[in-house]
Subunit: 260 residues, 2 copies
Amino acid sequence: MAGASAYYVNSLEENNFKPNFDEVPEDIWKNCQLLILCSPSNPTGYCLEREDYIDLLNKADKYDFLVCSDECYTDIYESSKTPPTGLLECCDVSQPDSKAVVFHSLSKRSNLAGLRSGFISANESVIKDLLLYRTYHGVTLSLPTQMASKWAWEDTVHVEKNQKDYDKKYEVAISALKDLPEITRPNGGFYIWLNVHGDDQIFARQLYEKNNVIVLPGSYLAFQENNINPGKGYVRIAIVHETKIIEEALTAINDNFSAL
Amino acid sequence: MAGASAYYVNSLEENNFKPNFDEVPEDIWKNCQLLILCSPSNPTGYCLEREDYIDLLNKADKYDFLVCSDECYTDIYESSKTPPTGLLECCDVSQPDSKAVVFHSLSKRSNLAGLRSGFISANESVIKDLLLYRTYHGVTLSLPTQMASKWAWEDTVHVEKNQKDYDKKYEVAISALKDLPEITRPNGGFYIWLNVHGDDQIFARQLYEKNNVIVLPGSYLAFQENNINPGKGYVRIAIVHETKIIEEALTAINDNFSAL
């Protein structure tokens, strides 16, 4: 898009799903204009740490690119734990030479994906460019959406309730995957990224045919980079429904998995 | 914007506010990429006719540009009259070589300006380009907005009531302008484009200072082209409030006008 080409950084199980930035060649860093991060990650739930952000910001200074951090899953984490670190905690975005651009959304925080409402935090010059960009398409949020968004950003009660609900959902999900005792809740997000030790498309299709349960084949979620499709052999399971449905669906997944 | 430069076509009272396309030089037509029309016009209320559209479409074929017709005021006309002609009535937009691009909105039809909801009608190749353009900014209407829009486009009862309300508003407005018997309702839209026979900024400021009534100085609504600012000496009066407020405001305008 816009003449740019994408270089994908693999996130592999052997690295605990941490994106492997060390594998990125020097000439890619030199030509980089935007580095797009998603932490907590969709689909693995991996969360970048403070040192990771600082390393990347140093690279951004050295090679002159922007670090765009999509943190829309940041409110979905185990309520007894500390929240995932965000890029805004690792730098001063108000500085004119700040390379940080942080994206937030109500979609996961408030279960308001359909509202299409969020915000971007960055220094003045980046926001100025964004303002020009928005001038080109001229779309503002409708007034009802703005009012609903104001309420949702100001209220924390529903966010905490949401977190507690996810604690319960994961508890039910992991307990239903009884033959897969190694499954644990990721640090962020609302997925289980399941290694099916086989063909993810076939697994997903059979699960749908036999049990009417839909999961997303991991190979659809990734591109091949360095001869690896890091999504191949995995399925993404969204832990977002009512607990009764989660229990049924995850029991079906457990049974299909055991039958492989 | 996007490296283009604008050429403004004047709409003058001496031409009954019809845009004077004859004044456009040949080299402007040759370099034209987009012709932007607004009919019914904001602020004059002038409505293009079938022959105007056909002339312009012929020019578009000859010089290879798109005719973009913003028809958001098209539902606001005197209820006893026939509706203003739209560009879609003058060509077959489904034809692959169609140069017509028609914009509609709920903002005036349903008094839903804040909803930011409308549609564009054009042939497949134009829509395909628009789809690419929208992919760049990725903004969809929120689901509540989509549902409200569906209702508003399907319902005609509120549109007819709206029309009848405007009949009443114009009746009150014109009757309050009792010292200006030449004022008539324009063919479309909800404005009176008043020639103040003097300085429009001074007129607007004095009206606000003396009577708390706000009108828009016409010179703010136009650019100078061919040494003429066609908005200079006019004010735009929006006939959109409750009839009682319209009566008070237009009586004040009448009195200020008479005092000039």
